[in-house]
Structure formats: structure tokens, C-alpha cells
Symmetry: C2
């Protein structure tokens, strides 16, 4: 089931307005990238967005899609599904735990919480397939990055 056209346009309007307000120019390319991602339900990667937009803007470059998605993410208008960018990172801690992830620098800290461990996945999630684990990700800005932000504002 696709996102209804009215909802798509509502999202595009939000994205457009936010781009404007942040001082960025609302170019044809950015508008169409925004429309493509607003319409998507499949959590596309950059390449997939590029393919979609090219149907309407055949001359757009992959770089522009990268730059636009990065800008929208920076403004908090869209999100990366994986919390961190860059290389894959591993975790060998076999004890049940959760993560705090800094969206600025990628810092990851373990979080132990019996309350979170006890979390019951909703009934309906079984339609997706066989569940193997539940992980809660707290996303935010770590202390170090907070200090850096404060320093810059002075």
C-alpha cells in the first residue's frame, strides 16, 4: 500500500518549508528528492532514491542525491535507519543490553535495563516473521558533542 498522495504532498510541503527556513535554496532537484523520499515506504538507500528521481529529472546526478539526503538528515527532517554512518561496528557483549547512540559522533554506549529487557513486542509483529531479538536504541547527543556545540555558540 503506497503512501496516499495527499500525505506525500503534506510531507513534501513540510520538507520544502524546512529547507527554506534553514536558508537553503529550494531547487528543482531538492524538491524531487524530497518527493521521492516522502513517497517511499521501503527505506531506500541513496541509489534507490536516485533511480526513482531520475524518472522525473533524468539529468540529476547521484552526488546531488547524496548531498540532499545528507542535508535533510542534518536538519532532522529524515532519519537514517541505521543509527550510525560509516563502517559497520560490532558488539560481542552476550549479556542482554541496549544502546545509547550519539547522532553526531557515532559514540555507542551500552545500557542495561531490566525494564527494557522485559519489553514485550506487540502481538502483530509476528506477521513480519520470526523474532529473534529486541533492541532499544536511545538516540541523542553525547556529553562531549554537547560541549562542542556550546563552545561554538559563544
Amino acid at each position: 500500500m503506497p503512501v496516499p498522495e495527499s500525505e506525500v504532498e503534506r510531507r513534501v510541503a513540510l520538507l520544502s518549508q524546512a529547507l527554506r527556513q534553514s536558508g537553503m535554496r529550494l531547487t528543482h532537484q531538492r524538491l524531487e528528492v524530497a518527493r521521492e523520499i516522502a513517497r517511499s515506504e521501503t527505506h531506500p538507500d541513496v541509489e534507490a532514491v536516485y533511480r526513482g528521481v531520475r524518472n522525473r529529472v533524468p539529468t540529476i546526478s547521484l552526488d546531488t542525491v547524496y548531498r540532499t539526503l545528507a542535508a535533510l538528515t542534518e536538519l532532522g527532517l529524515i532519519k537514517r535507519v541505521s543509527a550510525t554512518s560509516g563502517p559497520v561496528r560490532y558488539d560481542a557483549n552476550p549479556i542482554q543490553h541496549h544502546h545509547f547512540v550519539c547522532t553526531r559522533c557515532g559514540l555507542i554506549r551500552d545500557l542495561y535495563s531490566p525494564t527494557l529487557d522485559a519489553l514485550e513486542p506487540p502481538e502483530e509483529s509476528s506477521v513480519f516473521g520470526r523474532l529473534e531479538s529486541v533492541e532499544v536504541q536511545l538516540r541523542g547527543v553525547c556529553e562531549a558533542c554537547k560541549r562542542k556545540e556550546d563552545d561554538c555558540e559563544r
Copy 2:
């Protein structure tokens, strides 16, 4: 605070035993990669594991570290922190929601749940920094991949 040496050795023993049981050979390189990741608290990427192991096995190659970590992940002994590997994927759905992620094929499905939305992050998580969002990730094997597995077992 480092992982206590006794806990490290316990984890290494678990990893070694599991490697053996799966029919893989327990080489010097694999043992040291296992030790390095068991000891780590920082959710290292492949490069960082490589640097650590090289102190003890100067001739090990980066490829071997890649292959060993991939094998340990495949066996479910360690986990990637980001649910999916491969290119970064985006989400433009502004409505609060959570994700089901297939650990085999990377499929991501949105999950709406007022119960999960209402989740209160534990008090102590505020020491990490400023919290901005909470996302619950259900990980497992999607219906399509389950079918593929069943087909192979016949």
C-alpha cells in the same frame, strides 16, 4: 572500565567452542580476533579490531579480520550494532514508529505501536547526554527468508 579478564576468557571460550561446533577450524588468527572483540567495550569497527589484533599477530591481514567477524556474525555469536549492512538507508516517515529488521536480507518494515511509543527511557540514560528519540528494533527473519531456509533444508 575494561571487561574483567575472567569474563573475557569466558567469552573467548564460548566463541571458540561455537566455532569448533560449526565445523570451522580454530586458527590462531580467529582465536585472537575473538579475544579482541570479546575484550572490547567500544563497539569497534573492523579496522579497530585489526589494529588491536596486530599487536599480538603482526602478520594478520585485514581480510582475515573481515572474514572472521563475518563468520562470527553469521553464527549469531556477535552482532552488528547497525541492524543492516550495506548502504545507508533513509526513512522519511515523520509519524512515530518502530522497525522490524530482517537480519538475513535487510528488509525493514514499519511498526506502529502506542505501547512502544510510550516507552520511558530509564532515568540513568540521561548521563550519556541529551536524548532525542527512542527507537525499538525488532530483529529476526522475515517470511520470505524463512521460506528460503525451509526450501534449502529439504
